[in-house]
Subunit: 492 residues, 2 copies
């Protein structure tokens, strides 16, 4: 191996960090809790953005951009939202540096350049956006507003992890305004389905669609819908959320509209977001001890071709054939890289692209040329086979589809095998400690019980599945009556 990786069995958390760093997705930075997204990781994000952005536009949304800063007085207007984020806010208090008279060549904050009102670096943009919507909305004719923003946000987290939880992260946040409750709820649900579609069909990550309990709701929301994924270590990951905000922000910012009968009412709202955290989820769903495993639809490089040769003459023969293959692949929309760099041996390259999670590797040597074939290696199953050059583009296109499907099936099988019913408290604790995954159990519906379960086990209610079947039972902890099971898990 080119670079030593910790195995998952040794230390899952260290394995994850190794993959992110050695797979060149991201790097630590000089700023506490902030990361550098390296070109290979950013290319993944660009693929995610392109797919999501198209989905948003296909459902009638437009992009816009709102300020990075939120004046404190606006930030605190919606009290629950403000309270929820107050402890994680980076705050701008000054707008100028000056030379430090006591420290040659150094700068200091100019105490005379103190802002009259502090600015919060947005942890989320409801406040600044609803303060703007106030001026955009007068009548029902101005509704709905279907806007999305691609942006950076800052939440001053105490414990950070690359991609999963960083002080600054990249995300998209949709913010919509509607004339009725029904329409706003329908929008929140629609975007949840968009996220699930993206997670499953693009990222090959199976997700459970559900509602958050009150404790886990977004600060300021009436309802939070979510998609929950399961990582290989049995911990859950919240992969996306879509909030029905009711009239909370409209009331906080006094945003009213006149309906068709000229009656004034507060506007109904949603917001929804996914972030670079998805990259962490992608890594922890598919990858293995040899490195990243990327689903073809997300992979920056879908196919890498490595020539095996001795001397310039062999190389020239290979080049001719491989350039034709590359052109044919590109014409078919396959993201292909021909790595004919001469500073590393083929074995090193094989390990490197395995580490990078490239779905398909093709090796071609002089004997392959003679036999009109190539050697194909699949990253997901590590199977190798010799394949005819005739119809190679179609073969590889189909193989990419097959790998995409196989990764989803594999992850779904693991996930399905890790939804376990618990009927007693002992069972519940035992499953969490030995098998992990989701535990499907009855809960009495109170925040107090949920809080107590969290204290005792570190497990939280990940969601109340949308497709839940009502079923009478007794709460796993309190023994009080319950009408349905919910999904508990320890989570990232």
């Amino acid at each position: 191996m080119a670079k030593e990786l910790t195995t998952r069995a040794e230390d899952y958390s260290q394995w994850y960090n190794d993959l992110i760093l050695k797979g060149e997705l991201a790097d630590y930075s000089a700023v506490r809790g902030c990361m550098v997204i390296k070109p290979y990781g950013y290319a993944l994000w660009e693929n995610m953005q392109a797919a999501l952005d198209k989905m948003f536009k296909d459902t009638g949304h437009q992009n816009a951009y709102f300020p990075l800063f939120v004046p404190k007085s606006l930030f605190e207007a919606e009290e629950k939202n403000a309270e929820g984020f107050a402890k994680e806010c980076a705050i701008v208090t000054h707008y100028r540096l000056k030379t430090d008279p006591n420290n040659k060549g150094k700068l200091m904050v100019d105490p005379e350049a103190k802002l009259e009102e502090e600015l919060i670096v947005r942890p989320t943009s409801e406040a600044i956006i609803w303060n703007t919507y106030k001026t955009w909305i007068q009548s029902y004719r101005d509704l709905p507003i279907l806007v999305n923003q691609w942006a950076n946000v800052v939440r001053w987290e105490m414990r950070t992890r690359l991609f999963l939880r960083t002080a600054e992260f990249l995300w998209q946040e949709g913010h919509t305004a509607h004339a009725s409750k029904e329409e706003a709820v329908a929008e929140a649900v629609q975007m949840l389905h968009v996220y699930a579609d993206f997670a499953e069909n693009w990222m090959a990550v199976p997700v459970i669609k559900g509602l958050k309990s009150v404790n886990e709701r977004f600060a300021g929301a009436e309802d939070t819908y979510c998609i929950e994924a399961l990582m290989q270590d049995g911990k859950a990951l919240q992969a996306g959320t879509s909030h029905f905000l009711g009239q909370n922000f409209a009331k906080a910012f006094d945003v009213k509209f006149s309906d068709k009968n000229n009656k004034l009412d507060y506007v109904w709202a949603t917001s929804w977001g996914v972030s670079t955290r998805l990259i962490g989820g992608l890594v922890m769903t598919h990858s293995d001890d040899q490195g990243l495993v990327l689903p073809p639809r997300m992979a920056p490089i879908q196919v890498v071709i490595v020539p095996i040769y001795k001397g310039d003459e062999q190389k020239a023969l290979l080049d001719e054939k491989i350039h034709a293959i590359v052109a044919s692949f590109k014409a078919a929309g396959i993201r292909v890289k021909y790595d004919d760099s001469d500073n590393q041996r083929p074995g090193w390259k094989f390990a490197e692209y395995e580490l990078k999670g490239v779905p398909v590797r093709i090796a071609v040597g002089p004997r392959d040329l003679e036999n009109n074939q190539v050697e194909i290696a699949r990253r997901d199953t590590k199977e190798k086979s010799s394949i005819s050059m005739d119809g190679l583009t179609e073969t590889v296109s189909n193989l990419l589809l097959e790998i995409q499907q196989n990764l989803f099936n594999r992850a779904k099988q693991y996930r399905d095998e890790h939804i376990t019913k618990a009927e007693t408290w002992d069972e519940f604790v035992n499953i969490l400690d030995t098998k992990a995954g989701f535990v499907s159990a009855h809960w009495d519906g109170t925040p107090e019980t949920e809080e107590k379960i969290k204290e005792l086990t570190k497990a939280t209610i990940r969601c109340i599945p949308l497709e839940n079947i009502l079923e009478a039972g007794k709460c796993i902890l309190s023994g009080n009556p319950s009408t349905q099971r919910v999904l508990f898990a320890r989570a990232y």
Copy 2:
């Protein structure tokens, strides 16, 4: 007219603001100096991003993302750069809010959550990036690094104007690292040509490529290349810059590489950027007293179709035909909107799309259907004509190309007519005050003279054109000998 606009003759500056606000490109925000980019304006930016991003990738660059914050100790490492931006820095000093004990429902900055080291909100990213490159570069094999970042930056400007100068703005910043001076200079020049290509062939904005004088150089650069455009009021606009940074940042952050002979040397650098300011330049190059005029390659909507009808029966007949036209346009890659909303009359819509700068408007009524024709109106010349429906898609495709070219030619003619040679100081001042535009004049090459000219006339050296012809002369102010003319102008 649906919305009253100030004319250019009345007040150019107010006309510009009217267009931005009423054309729905942007809005003021609650944050001093920051704007909201509205969906129509953001769609323009997305078109700019898509074209530029492809050009960057075609020239071998990859995107990445670096932190929003720069620790003060890193920020001050490259002294000239730090000095250049120190007075415009938004500074994060705290990381938590708490409830204000004296003010129910309000929050205050928690004095116990003071950062040990202040964080500067990036005004530009050389410092944080070169501090990162230090860990990426050991040998010549790690070079070149060709990275670009799409991001927001903050410069606390005292006087702001929508798009042209805002406290926060969106931009891209390329940051490259090279093994030799020659390679770095070639990169800086290459990106200047990319910017000029984009400005002229996509935005239809003619630009002059040149070098900045020492006074106007980017803080920390050895040379700043720029493209300069001319607005309709005779003021110049710096539309993009590309900097050869020498080894300044490598020295400040101790970034060395070992060359093929194992000799250590500092790495050579470039950086280059364009921003949402380009939108302001686009508006001020082409628009007129009726509203925005957008070049087809940039326009979010290239063609709008307005039906003219009475009653549902006529509407149904029109719909059938127009839906076929729309499908054919879309298949040809034309961005078309069919505005059949029934809450506004055609006359209102005509004015609205004129205001929005849509290049081509098509109106179709029942009589047009009978005659197998449509009415086409060009936004650039305001000419109207009746055109056969046969081959309409090709007709319109060609018309869009013609409009694109016409806008460029028109702007270039204006620009060329506004490069005026001045031989004496009186002429120089007179041209600036009466005709405006670029003044081509001899300059003795000293920063002192340039500074004095700026004090006396508010004109600065916009650039020393790359294609300058050497010509002996005397400085317009000092009378000292000069080897070439440079371009002066008052500028945005």
